[in-house]
Assembly symmetry: C2
Homo-oligomer: 518 residues x 2
Amino acid sequence: MIIAGDLVAGTGTEVRGFDPVAGHDLEPGYRYGDDRHVEQACAAAAAAFGEYRATTSERRAAFLERIADDLDAARDALVDRATAESGLPRARITGEVGRTTGQLRLFAAVLREGSWNGARIDPALPDREPLPRPDIRQRAVPLGPVAVFGASNFPLAFSVAGGDTASALAAGCPVVVKAHDAHPGTSELVGRVIADAVASSGMPAGTFSMLFGSGPGLGTALVTDPRIKAVGFTGSRTAGMALVAAAAARPEPIPVYAEMSSINPVFLLNGALASRATELGKAFVTSLTMGSGQFCTNPGLVVAVDGPNLDAFVAAAKDALGQAQATPMLTPTIAANYARGVATFDADADLVVRGAPGDERTTCQAALFSTDAATFRGSAALQAEVFGASSIVVRCKDDAEMTSLVGDLEGQLTATLHVDDTDHDHAAELLELLELKAGRILFNGWPTGVEVCHAMVHGGPSPATSDSRTTSVGGRAIERFLRPVAYQNVPKSLLPSPIADGNPDGLWRRVDGHLTQG
Amino acid sequence: MIIAGDLVAGTGTEVRGFDPVAGHDLEPGYRYGDDRHVEQACAAAAAAFGEYRATTSERRAAFLERIADDLDAARDALVDRATAESGLPRARITGEVGRTTGQLRLFAAVLREGSWNGARIDPALPDREPLPRPDIRQRAVPLGPVAVFGASNFPLAFSVAGGDTASALAAGCPVVVKAHDAHPGTSELVGRVIADAVASSGMPAGTFSMLFGSGPGLGTALVTDPRIKAVGFTGSRTAGMALVAAAAARPEPIPVYAEMSSINPVFLLNGALASRATELGKAFVTSLTMGSGQFCTNPGLVVAVDGPNLDAFVAAAKDALGQAQATPMLTPTIAANYARGVATFDADADLVVRGAPGDERTTCQAALFSTDAATFRGSAALQAEVFGASSIVVRCKDDAEMTSLVGDLEGQLTATLHVDDTDHDHAAELLELLELKAGRILFNGWPTGVEVCHAMVHGGPSPATSDSRTTSVGGRAIERFLRPVAYQNVPKSLLPSPIADGNPDGLWRRVDGHLTQG
């Protein structure tokens, strides 16, 4: 573990990386920390907060870039270790290094652009009747130390130096990471890179710590520590809701950004299905089986009007999936949960096809089911996420049934429509409803693959996330760790530079309600 | 009650306005609604949502202005009734009408300016290696029907047509108000104005409903109705936390914006105290006793270094407060709670002075206490808000003790510093700490009186509010009822106008991360 720059050995349960391809544990062993380590990490984060948040945007941007550069420099070692620990393909992990460093550099750009300050100025109106208006200014300040929970399925991009860490550090918040048991070795490598960047960038040591521990044990201790002011989490619905409950029960409740559960419905509209059912069936299986289906945005539901075109889609998907090799899953626990989840589908829906079988303890045997809309709507089990390459085709009687089914869906990270020009009327109807259900709506593509950019939303209504007003990917993720403060009649020499006279930071600011860079 | 434009009589407990000056109930009686009325109002709001949110910004702006104009036209009747029901001075209530209509017009301006759409566009990069970038656009959509709880202390500005209603309606959310028992007649007048504006503006009838009922009964039913997607509340810490808990326990948790409890510390720095202790003492009492101290931002705590200058401040305050007449409180319940709260202070601190006594059942006998920093820090009772004109002077040994006391304070709506030029070093130190404790920091003024403008923050860390990332006053209040949605490769003809090509709405948009109106 790393606590404020010091390497610290835990004293609890031993965890090891597990190579699901080779089928054996990896050296070395790591040990869980205890309440004392939580105490040390939180105390160090709280002590670092004042100095860290006072650093300029430029210094924090350079710090994030330093982490990105050093991760790039360590790419080979990272790819070796993360590939071994995750069983994910080497090319995918190589891409994930790029995504991770890309996220850090995006937030460096967000910091330099400066709108994150939320600067607003309503100048005094001393002659206003019946009362003069005071000078009121507003800017954002960071919430305080943030607890980040690494995810199993992105050992880099949603883990120790992942999106939550990058956006919290950008906002000016020290970070305490609980690394995921699925990839302790990768976590150590990344944690060392960040700790070194903290030191070489002259940031206070407590800006970053990384602990190992169980969710209910050390994780809860972290979330309930009074010095922690926000939480970022990606994982299961059960674990996410437990963190939300723990945070809400604190004397001072804090926000929890938990990204949890989504089945990512795909709507195949009639025109698209008529013109390219076979092609869609094949492409669907590619998206479904990528990374053994271990994506938050995996297409777990396909909705279309029943008929020969849908039959052709299902036939193509059946053909492609029937040939799919069993591929490694991240951990034996995830493989076991996947098998259990597929069994619950089996009870309520018709099996279309399974992929080739493999070692049940470590691999994912892909699965496709089919059912009608009435059965789907009546089954909570079929609406639940099964993490891995499993999906259900829901056959609707007509367009109206497709549309009305949207109302029964829970909140989603994504919703996808495949359309031709002839489908635009129905697509417009669905779009209006899906806007209220999903964080991202995409056309004629597949939901796996989340672009890291300014306009991205990776979020959505409950249970997709615990806070639909935010995103965990893209430029706006920084806003999760900020709050506005108003300054009334503050003497000019005491005003923070983002809202000082003369706009010394050259920001876009809202003056009397209007944006200006003056 | 008003449900989707229909006047409906409740069937439960009867409530009446009470005139605390005259000391008698007012006609007519109103009756609490039941679960059936909640069901009807929520069903109507849900039915209205699709059409209402699809209205243009311009139409919603004109609708808000219509409500404002009609409230202005009804000013005399509103002032008569609200003055009678609240016991607040006629001038104060007249000002509150202006504040209420000013809020509605501010949100009309926010709608027309258009940045509330949060429009972002990252254009496609088809030639990017290794993978092309899709076209990603982002805009905000409203959350859905909002439940608003009227406050006792602002029968207009934080009630039926208050800030929560105005910002929710601006965002495109239908509103169901639970009117406060303290002013049913005022609520009826305002509710009729809104319902008429809904009809004459051609908005769907379910855009607005108003119910009477108890907090634990009808209020909880409203917050737990699955069609309600957010809650605005101003009131006590106990009631606010109960709503937060009820909302968190829903199958689909929703945000609750509860503005609850704040003692609004005022720091008198040495230079200011040396140059104008007597003047400050008098002005403090004016702020403390205004409206019988029934403001969320009432100065309930004064912190300064002990010595002759602080003695002079206390002497001036004692003199002014000793002459203060007992003034009416909003309701007998509030008066009883005030008396109880003052008694708890009496147990832990030294009484400086009480104002003139009055009818204990209906009036506020102002109270000022004094204690040392150690006693204050050791007493939870002294840190609790007593709603009404009661305050405590905390005597510190030195500047360092003043500064360290900030760390023990709970979250606050406001923090105030009185400074001279010689105090700037100490003020800078305090400012840095107070930014993390309060939503608004003001210099050389008094916290009562919240300007309605673009840069205002009326919010703050728990327990001041349940969500420090937002404000309930000022332009940014609209953001509480919005969430971002990303649109990926959406056909041009299906793109919503805020993010359409060619910028048809003329908005400021973030394109590739940079603001542009092009």
